[in-house]
Amino acid sequence: MNAEQIGLWAGFVFTLMIFSYILGDNILYRLAVYVFAGLAAGYITLVTVEGVLLPWLRGTLLSPGAVGVGGQILGIVPFVLGLLLLLKGSPRLGPLGNLAIAFIVAVGTAVALVGAITGTLLPLAAATGSSVRIDLVNGFLIFIGVSSTLVYFQYLARRQPGGEIRRGLVVRAIGALGQGVVVVTLGAIYAGAILTSLTIFSERIGFILARITGG
């Protein structure tokens, strides 16, 4: 039996251990889950080191001739920031860790902001507008659906003379339509999730049967 066959049998055993959860939480399931977490941690370490950190080190700290002193200092910066994050646990030196957090938050916010505008807002708004031109009836329905969904997500309301805070009748009516659209969307997505997991489940059953029958 070679390493590949041993791997296949190991996969078979671990699949059964995971499926044993159908009968309730048990030791076999927990063993498999802890092995999974350990393997995942190991692979994430490998990918992070080999795919991200080593190329960075080779391009900066480990090639002083190509990048100069400035490049080498730049090469140390992310590791210093990482070490600063470790200081967050200390009550006295904790504020130093905020510098690293600030840097990550600043760049992350900028990327999220630009991504949201150029990757979601503009393309989806343009697609919704153009769908009316492509198919008048369905395009108009899509436009109504998108608008009512957005109205459903807003919580602006007026204070009534009695002190009660209520949304206007028109906004409530459009919001109710939006709620319906959101619910239908979530129902369809839920069905998609069921179909996907059913496909994966049947593939796993096929794998188990193939192992048993020697296929």
Binding site: A3, F12, F14, T15, I18, I22, R30, L31, Y34, F36, G38, L39, A41, G42, Y43, T45, L46, T48, L74, G82, N98, L99, A102, F103, I104, V105, A106, V107, T109, A110, V111, L113, V114, G115, A116, T118, T120, L124, A125, N138, L141, I142, V146, S147, L150, Y152, G180, V182, V183, V184, L186, A188, I189, Y190, A191, A193, S197, I200, F201, F207
Partner: protein, 221 residues
């Protein structure tokens, strides 16, 4: 001193954030704005910031994994409840790392590599089995939905769910069911998904702008 630190942190976020946005957004056809970006090489600065943030994030991932291993090793050392599971987790992680090091050093040879076999046979098998297990949770969740009273949103949810599921059945004459499913996915579901995504994007923009103009300073806590 603490106050000065807070001011420096806010200034860093605003400065770095705005420079990164400028480098990412401003193209070559925005007149004087493009000229400033070109003159001060803001695009290069923005690119360096992105690289530094990526490497810092990778470093934090490694720190996180190190912390995971230390926490579980501590559990093993103190013989706490479930220490056997912790030992298994640590051994699994170390096994992958040691195997990879031996392979890179040329000690372990063979095609496909042992780490690849371990990944494809064990890791992927467990992942797939867990994803398959989700089926039971989803079906049970859908079954329980209507047991706590019927309301029109619940009814709509179940109707959409059933329509998509029934239309997926391999019937000999699907006709109306498939057409209804296709229309549902193309019109209301598409509209709802767009609305949800637009809502998320709008919320991201609002929060992002609040952070970049210094109104939201939760990172200082």
């Amino acid at each position: 001193m603490r106050r000065l630190g807070a001011v420096i942190t806010s200034a860093l976020v605003i400065g770095i954030g705005l420079l990164t946005v400028a480098g990412l957004v401003v193209g070559g056809d925005l007149g004087w704005l493009s000229a400033i970006v070109e003159a001060f090489r803001i695009r290069d600065i923005s690119s360096i910031f992105l690289q530094l943030a990526t490497i810092t994030a990778a470093t934090t991932i490694l720190i996180g994994i190190l912390n995971l291993l230390v926490v579980h090793l501590r559990r093993v050392g103190r013989r706490e409840k479930g220490w056997g599971y912790s030992l298994l987790l640590v051994l699994s992680a170390l096994a992958v790392i040691v195997l990879a090091v031996l392979e890179r050093a040329g000690v372990l040879k063979g095609e496909p590599a042992l780490t690849t076999i371990l990944f494809e046979s064990v890791q992927v098998s467990i992942e797939s089995a867990l994803a398959g297990l989700v089926l039971f949770a989803l079906v049970f969740g859908a079954y329980r939905l209507m047991r706590r009273g019927v309301s029109w949103p619940k009814l709509l949810f179940v109707l959409a769910l059933l329509l998509v599921l029934l239309a997926a059945l391999p019937l000999s004459a699907p006709g109306l069911l498939t057409s209804a499913r296709d229309w549902l996915l193309a019109v209301p579901v598409s509209a709802g998904a767009r609305g949800i995504l637009l809502g998320i994007a709008l919320a991201t923009v609002v929060t992002g702008v609040r952070v970049l103009i210094g109104l939201d300073r939760s990172y200082r806590e």
